[in-house]
Subunit: 360 residues, 2 copies
Amino acid sequence: MNSRIDQVVQRIIKSQLDAILITDYHTIDYLVGYCNRPGERFFGLVVTKTGELTLVLNNLFFLDEKLDCSLIWYSDTDSIAQAISPALKGIERLGVDKKLEARFLLELQAVFDHIYFTLGSACVDEVRMVKDESEITKMQQASLINDRAMELIKDEIAKGVFSEIELRDKLKHIYLELGADDFSFEPIIAFGKNGANPHHELDGTRLLPGNSVIVDIGCTYQGYCSDMTRTFFYQEVSPEHEKLYSIVKKANEKAIAMIKPGVALKDIDATARDYIASEGYGTYFNHRLGHFIGREVHEYGDVSSNFDMPVRPGMIFSIEPGVYLKGEVGIRIEDLVLVSEQGAVSLNEFNKDLIILKEK
Amino acid sequence: MNSRIDQVVQRIIKSQLDAILITDYHTIDYLVGYCNRPGERFFGLVVTKTGELTLVLNNLFFLDEKLDCSLIWYSDTDSIAQAISPALKGIERLGVDKKLEARFLLELQAVFDHIYFTLGSACVDEVRMVKDESEITKMQQASLINDRAMELIKDEIAKGVFSEIELRDKLKHIYLELGADDFSFEPIIAFGKNGANPHHELDGTRLLPGNSVIVDIGCTYQGYCSDMTRTFFYQEVSPEHEKLYSIVKKANEKAIAMIKPGVALKDIDATARDYIASEGYGTYFNHRLGHFIGREVHEYGDVSSNFDMPVRPGMIFSIEPGVYLKGEVGIRIEDLVLVSEQGAVSLNEFNKDLIILKEK
């Protein structure tokens, strides 16, 4: 914890802030070791540039442990601005959480009109981007379970009798039997043209020969997430889809191969994107190449043209190029990678060659 | 839709705003009939005081229908402030969504520094508080299913062999078989002292004779929520717990009996609270008496000392007094009520008398 807080304080100082106000409960847990899901109630941690920590919490929250920070308790009928006031004494520049809601931010801005408010959660998010040893071990384990779950759900899909929604329920049981805690996100198991709709909700669709099957799944294990995608074909594959598959696979492999400390995230994105464009499918790859992951399946940090940050050892993010032909087919291949001094190590070992599913 | 928008526009004018910016996807669906879950991406609806509607959406979102509003499409690499700019032309006073995140609000404040920002979502929330006929029908149906589910899960609990978490899974199947879409929230099925912990997570606890069992459950049906709590006892009940139960039941009944158009929400809360206090348990009833409900299980509006708004016909909210003795027992009895011209009609008909569960 102390090392994490030291790194956060360095960033607060570097950002010329006096303090930050964190309201993301994952981040609060990361810094003070207290996990509380506040629902609609205010739950905030103030970290000052001198390393003082004050947690502001509702007296309905349960806290049995002794925490290494000051506490301010408030009740449902209290004003949040009044409650937090002692923790903001002397603060002139406050960096707030990117997800702080307007109902709180506007109240704070009105009451503390001498304070300059700006975004401040990057001071912690940039620390969370780099995983420590204990976090890496949990992420590896979550992805090991995911590899095994992919194998088991593939065999269920191959039977050709289950709908998307039935496979989702089977996957839930597979994860629980493998020792995972839960899904890390609602799985996508999309047949044929459903795979080209990024917001498809699983339904009763049945598999037809020649269909692609996008399987984008992940679980949580000891509070950390996995996330992997494979695309299978059912019984047969057309030559055009086979070609598309090889383009997506090569984009995935090219991107992973170029990762090493110092390379900019946006350049990794560009490598995959430029290659897919050179094959004539640039407009059909319509999302970022990847996202960071850890306690949440989508954490701060993208592998996209928006992020010129260089990669560092300990970072874990997804590499997931895809090509989507509306009304026809979707193909995506996604791995989680861990950056080491030497390059990228994939946390997923599930085969990336084209697999045609046939009932045994 | 037009009647809803007319009511919203009246409130925008009355609040002396030029426009509101809504980002809650439930509310956007309520006003324009397009349901989209935007994840981390910006999704906003600007409604001006002259009734012009502009929807701002990411080009990754799927939209097949034709909507009765203007559209602004943006991409992941665009600035939100720049994208929304045409919809804010001429706006000087903008009411924003209570849940608008700081990452968007601070950007808008920086770019549109001539605009006065304040909270504006109450202009829609106050309309959503009063349900129309089609909404009432769905809410009634969701609560009918909930009554039936309570009966079925009660019989499972009575067997005395299942843990809290096992009962949760049984309840999921019960809802699906009864035609519900899903849980409206993670159910609380808490044995004995677990019921006194408002943030208890269901676990492997087994029932013991004399335990209370709080069952706080709800489902969604055609997009609308139910929510009801009953507290049972297993095999036997102590005289003290029986007395506590009768106090909570009477608080529930007193509150419901006094509801009629014109009565202030805070006075309903006070009636239940004062009665429980008069019986000596005031400090053990440590939450608001109720909350509004509809498309979301917790919507804008509380039955608490914070809300002096008078009730109106068509409002639906919960009445859920409780008493919690830490480390010992929790008792809560909750109904959803619909306000009519004559008074309150409960949407739940499940028996509120004390029930002692015994295996048949």
